[in-house]
């Protein structure tokens, strides 16, 4: 009987890989960006990253992902630095980043195209925009569970109730943008 208690290298490798790719492109990569990019990778690109996301005031969030970030940081795979300029945290490649990516090679190779797409498409976005986009996707996927895509107005209403600090027009633009890229469907 072969039993494995392996460290979850695919999950750790994904965090390390996203950190490196965002770093190379000079994208600001903090805790919000990590949460939202992994959520979008899993939801829009169908990469099974193994995380359960729930909706919070700050958008989709996975506690397991945060715990993995902590564990990876202890392991030296990434460095999490306080950035007083934005009051948040910047995630940077750690000294063992390459080692962790190597351990997760199979998973990363299989998912490479999707990871590249997520970083290219969503990496340059501000945390606030990412939160709005991820929340919109979350609301649309939830509505889809009822069988049909939501009306654009309906989806805009739901998102507006979740993100009242964005104007309705801005939300509609975000919906159209996601729809035009075939990430979501509305009627």
């Amino acid at each position: 009987m072969k039993i494995t208690f392996a460290i979850p290298w695919p999950r750790y490798g994904l965090i390390a890989d996203l950190t490196c790719r965002n770093y190379e492109r000079a994208n600001y990569f903090g805790k919000t960006a990590l949460q939202k990019q992994v959520y979008l990778l899993q939801t829009l690109f169908g990469v099974d990253c193994g995380y359960d996301f729930g909706l919070h005031t700050y958008g989709p969030f996975s506690a397991q992902l945060l715990a993995d970030l902590d564990a990876l940081s202890f392991m030296g795979g990434v460095t999490v630095e306080n950035d007083p300029s934005i009051g948040g945290y910047r995630i940077l490649p750690g000294e063992r980043c390459d080692y962790v990516r190597k351990e997760a090679r199979d998973f990363l190779e299989a998912s490479e195209e999707s990871i590249v797409n997520v970083v290219e498409e969503f990496g340059p976005r501000y945390a606030k925009d990412l939160e709005l986009l991820a929340t919109t996707v979350y609301a649309e996927r939830e509505a889809l569970l009822n069988g049909t895509p939501p009306l654009e107005d309906e989806l805009a209403d739901v998102v507006s109730h979740l993100k009242p600090h964005f104007s309705k027009e801005f939300i509609r633009e975000a919906i159209r943008d996601l729809r035009d890229r075939s990430h979501i469907a509305t009627r």
């Binding site: 460290i7 919070h56 000294e95 979350y138």
Partner: protein, 506 residues
């Protein structure tokens, strides 16, 4: 009248060993508590068979649910009382305050109605939603409320007359659906977050009933230091702890950590969860053999009223009754005889890669012994996020927010627990321990040889090029060496289990 409450008619009080009194604020709440779906919680133990280790731990989800409603309400009232202007700055409406409060109370009260018999022990017997993902008790809670409680929620005269809170809204709140909106999502943090009433109540209650004092922290201090802040990166409203309360928040984290190690992940408690899971599968397979469902040894999914009715029929009493009649197969007999599987190997609490590899080797060697493994990293008891500490004017939501781990050295240095344990049937323990000992000795020998070889080559290098060798030693990457070498991996001595569980006749 209580702050923020719309008391209608009579109130009722339950005595509570943790909070003193828990008040039921009107007849509507009383009737919900009287409903069979809620009353079932009297027959679901909070900590399954933990009483085999801590005899006092026989409390139920019923008293915990009342405690969560009480605690969430106190938190809500204190947050409003101390942060009124900050909440208004975030456009939280005073007009809907009473309704928001009622919704939170009812969701908190009902959040656990979907637990299976013996609480988390039954979660491994939940059916699969997708290939790899099982249903969770929260989904059962939401569907039970949505489909079996409309009579006492939607149709209740006090609700129809005033509150107008449909069962579906309570269910959506429990699940955290997008449709509940920002205000409800914000208050939902009081039910599910690092600072929630659920955790606050179960730590104190479990600590009280087990007699393990580590679960204690200052709940009253927590109440008055909860505050409202904004996410610095995105501006989203957050629940945080005021800076003056961070030591207490630290105590909460420590309480959780200690309770995890001493109670929730106790080696004997954990193995009883495994046996109960096996028993449930046997009982379900027998009871549902004519159901036509593909997986009859799992609970019915929460997708139809009929399935929910069938799920609702399962509680601790039914399982115990069947066990008493001799049902439950091999694991039923183990429970009756109290001959649970025994731990023969364990990694440290925070296992390194090398520790886990050693555990794999030991597991492989033990193969013929029908081992059960227990992995803390997959346990139900996980952190739900970060505790945030807010600095600044209480009236202003724009505070400086930092994670507790940045302020507290203790929290910063706490690593995720990923301990792995190996168990074997009692009658195979001696043989298994001999194998474990042999495997660990072989591993230690191998490691010693490797170390000597490394030291010899280093010495050789120093001899020939002393400066270069020193530099290369300094720059060498961290080697994947086990912290859990033989001395750290715990070999469980060949002796009876700890005293608490041997208190009765076998």
């Amino acid at each position: 009248m209580r702050r923020g409450a719309q008391a209608v008619g009579k109130t009722f009080d339950f005595r509570c060993p943790v909070h003193g009194f828990v008040t039921v604020e009107d007849e509507w709440e009383r009737d919900i508590i009287q409903h069979p779906v809620f009353q079932r919680l009297r027959r679901i133990r909070q900590l399954a068979w933990t009483d085999m280790v801590y005899p006092g731990a026989v409390h139920t989800r019923f008293e915990h649910s009342l405690g969560v409603m009480h605690t969430a309400t106190r938190m809500f009232d204190e947050v409003w009382a101390r942060n009124e202007r900050a909440l208004e700055a975030l456009n939280f409406s005073k007009e809907s305050r009473a309704r928001d409060r009622k919704l939170l109370r009812l969701a908190s009260l009902l959040h656990d109605v979907g637990h299976s018999p013996f609480s988390h022990a039954g979660e491994e017997v939940m059916p699969f939603v997708t290939e790899e993902k099982r249903y969770k008790h929260e989904q059962y809670s939401a569907e039970l409320v949505r489909q079996l409680m409309t009579d006492v929620i939607d149709n209740h005269r006090l609700n129809q007359r005033g509150w107008k809170i449909p069962a579906s809204e309570i269910a959506d709140f429990i699940e955290g659906k997008a449709t509940i909106g920002l205000v409800s999502l914000f208050w939902r943090q009081l039910m599910s977050s690092q600072l929630d009433a659920d955790r606050a109540d179960y730590l104190l209650r479990d600590s009280h009933h087990t007699g393990v004092k580590y679960g204690q922290f200052d709940l009253d201090r927590l109440f008055i230091t909860l505050t409202v802040a904004e996410d610095p990166e995105t501006g989203a409203p957050l629940l945080a702890v005021a800076r003056s309360g961070w030591h207490n928040a630290e105590a909460l984290i420590l309480a959780r950590y200690m309770m995890f190690n001493q109670v929730y992940f106790h080696k004997t408690r954990s193995i009883y969860d495994f046996h109960i899971g096996e028993v449930l599968q046997t009982l379900l397979a027998e009871a549902q053999k004519d159901s036509g469902r593909a997986n009859a040894s799992a609970f019915p999914p929460p997708d139809t009223k009929e399935h929910l009715q069938s799920y609702f029929e399962w509680d601790d009493w039914r399982v115990l009754g069947l066990l008493h009649q001799g049902a439950g197969g091999e694991h039923g007999q183990i429970l009756r005889d109290r001959r649970h599987y025994r731990e023969v190997f364990s990694t440290p609490d925070v296992a390194t890669e090398a520790d886990l590899k050693l555990a794999e080797t030991v597991a492989e060697k033990l193969g013929a012994f029908a081992i059960h493994t227990d992995d803390a990293s997959t346990s139900w008891y996980k952190p739900k996020g970060e505790i945030l500490v807010a600095d600044g004017d209480v009236e202003n939501p724009k505070k400086i927010v930092r994670p507790l781990s940045e302020i507290s050295d203790i929290v910063r240095n706490m690593r995720p627990i990923n301990r792995v344990r190996l168990y074997v049937p009692l009658e195979k323990r001696d043989g298994a321990l001999a194998i474990v000992k042999k495997t660990l000795e072989a591993a230690a020998k191998k490691k010693l040889q490797k170390r000597r070889k490394g030291e010899a080559s280093k010495a050789e290098a120093v001899k020939s090029e002393p400066f270069k060798a020193e530099a290369s030693r300094r720059e060498a990457p961290e080697v994947e060496v086990s912290k859990g070498e033989v001395t750290k991996a715990e070999v469980i001595p060949d002796e009876p289990d700890a005293a608490p569980e041997t208190g009765g006749p076998a």
